[in-house]
Symmetry: C2
Subunit: 372 residues, 2 copies
Amino acid sequence: MTTPTPRPFNFSAGPAALPEEVLQTAAAEMLDWHGSGMSVMEMSHRGAEFISIYEKAERDLRRLLAVPQNYRILFMQGGGIGENAIVPLNLSRAGVVDFVLTGSWSQKSQKEAGKYATSRVAASAEASGFTEIPNPASWQIDRDAAYLHICSNETIHGIEYQQLPDLKALGADIPLVIDCSSHIASRSIDWSRVGLAFAGAQKNLGPSGLTIVIVREDLVGHALAICPSAFNYELVAKNQSMYNTPPTWGIYVAGLVFDWVLRQQEGDLTGLAAIEARNIRKAAKLYAYLDGSGFYRNTVAPTARSRMNVPFFLADESRNADFLTGAKARGLLQLKGHKSVGGMRASIYNAMPEAGVDALIDYLREFEKSAA
Amino acid sequence: MTTPTPRPFNFSAGPAALPEEVLQTAAAEMLDWHGSGMSVMEMSHRGAEFISIYEKAERDLRRLLAVPQNYRILFMQGGGIGENAIVPLNLSRAGVVDFVLTGSWSQKSQKEAGKYATSRVAASAEASGFTEIPNPASWQIDRDAAYLHICSNETIHGIEYQQLPDLKALGADIPLVIDCSSHIASRSIDWSRVGLAFAGAQKNLGPSGLTIVIVREDLVGHALAICPSAFNYELVAKNQSMYNTPPTWGIYVAGLVFDWVLRQQEGDLTGLAAIEARNIRKAAKLYAYLDGSGFYRNTVAPTARSRMNVPFFLADESRNADFLTGAKARGLLQLKGHKSVGGMRASIYNAMPEAGVDALIDYLREFEKSAA
């Protein structure tokens, strides 16, 4: 199975581009996975074939993200919005939970948790229009909170923590929960600072409908009585993510992506380190172009800018439709910004080749000239 | 993309066989759906391309099952086990809910609902070892219950309602909830008797991770305050199943399956009627062979036997492993029974060709002779 022409570059914020090699494999194995005579979609989740797919995916993700042995990796359903309820249902003990608001996603999470716990705001960047991350030294953390939740990469506002907060150093010895949906597997995670990380798969890992939860063992087993069984971390963990039928196709594709990431190379670097180096380079050149331009602007504080999601605005917003039409004609897809922010957004996840960023910059330059 | 040799017949109870044609299409479109330059997995769920896929799937399913206009079709996540909580979270109003127990699935549902409501048993076939359906005339229904829940096809015990109960005629004017995961789209549904139907997709519709909910409009909008937003029918309905990112690949594959069902023909029959006629014939010949044999037995009352899931036992259970090995060698896959019942189980969903049932019967006959 080959593509006759080069594929366009897809800047969707999610569901998002997948490595072409992964798609080729998924297509080639569609009717017969490894001589089994079955598509992965047709396999019992309890059969030897799928168990081997699941176990490799779990093992590769653990290796990729250097997940310590005392953390469980759960393959679930429900996405980030589902986890906004599922995390407090499992971890809050109906007490107090703290949030730092840096954009739409942390706002949504904070609101949803209020159904199950006393949901506090420890700090908020709302006054800035969500263009920065409040200095952790200023956070008003409840030291008795069940956990503190941040969105470590805000997909819509284009804000990313370049370093995870060290809550213990901030005087609060409570678990940190990170919603890392839109930058998981794009950079390393300092697990010594994290109690639970969750991510919808549809940005950097695979198709929508699969949700990854990585949770420290001591945080499992405290679900509220009203927690649905399908979303009870203890039941999911005890049953190797097969308490209910897991999203098997999503696990398979994510497994292909994990394998792809592990094989990446950049100079002397391999795997996640290689991907991260490439992501740094891709983001740096795009922001440098935008900052040097008189026509485009990104309004996020430079220290808080996301490597994955780059929102930007045209000086003349009446040209937005022309910009998108011209982009599509050049094979640069899905650049429209989120409706709540407006403008444009280039999501440059792991699967976006550096050539895609170069092609975008070429087009930005060309369009700027034509608009002069 | 062609398969060099005939595919084996896959009798998995779920995730289960898909029509070969659907797999061929999914493989062929993997890198470039209809000239979009994207895999369906890479499309924004809010983009024109995916919206067209979603709308066609919704329209085709409505046509296929003759779903009246006052029912909403929701594409969700969480599977049957998720819905065991999600249904009472949305419909119970924390009052009384009734269940009829006919096997493992209705038992699980009744237990889970107890977290959110007073969960009653209106009737149970447990004393029979779940080999029959209690006569509806004997059901002790609470006329003030928020709904009565049945599993209209018990995947594990192989029991199927040949006719849905008419609760009104039984003196209880309350909504009927049916878990129809393992026979949806295998036969018509009498919507005049149903308030809500739900189904995990992974038997007759597509990959696991997609859950279909079809609910009468007046039952939407009464969720408990503790219902997670992602699973609140009102929010899901108002946002055309895009309150959170839906399982886009699952919707796409299910859409291909709906299209396939609609194009089926048997004599003068088309679509669901054709599929149902074929299913009746497939099941009849398999049960006839089992009943006529001295070596195999199915213990379900003939009037309650499932057309989709046929559990059976060998007279000499010490031959079980031999039976499965021989079956696999002949390309008859995943015939092992569920661990809670034992023996064998042949799931003969829509995608199982009649030739697969014929091949199974040939093998049953051959094995019986060899065991004589």
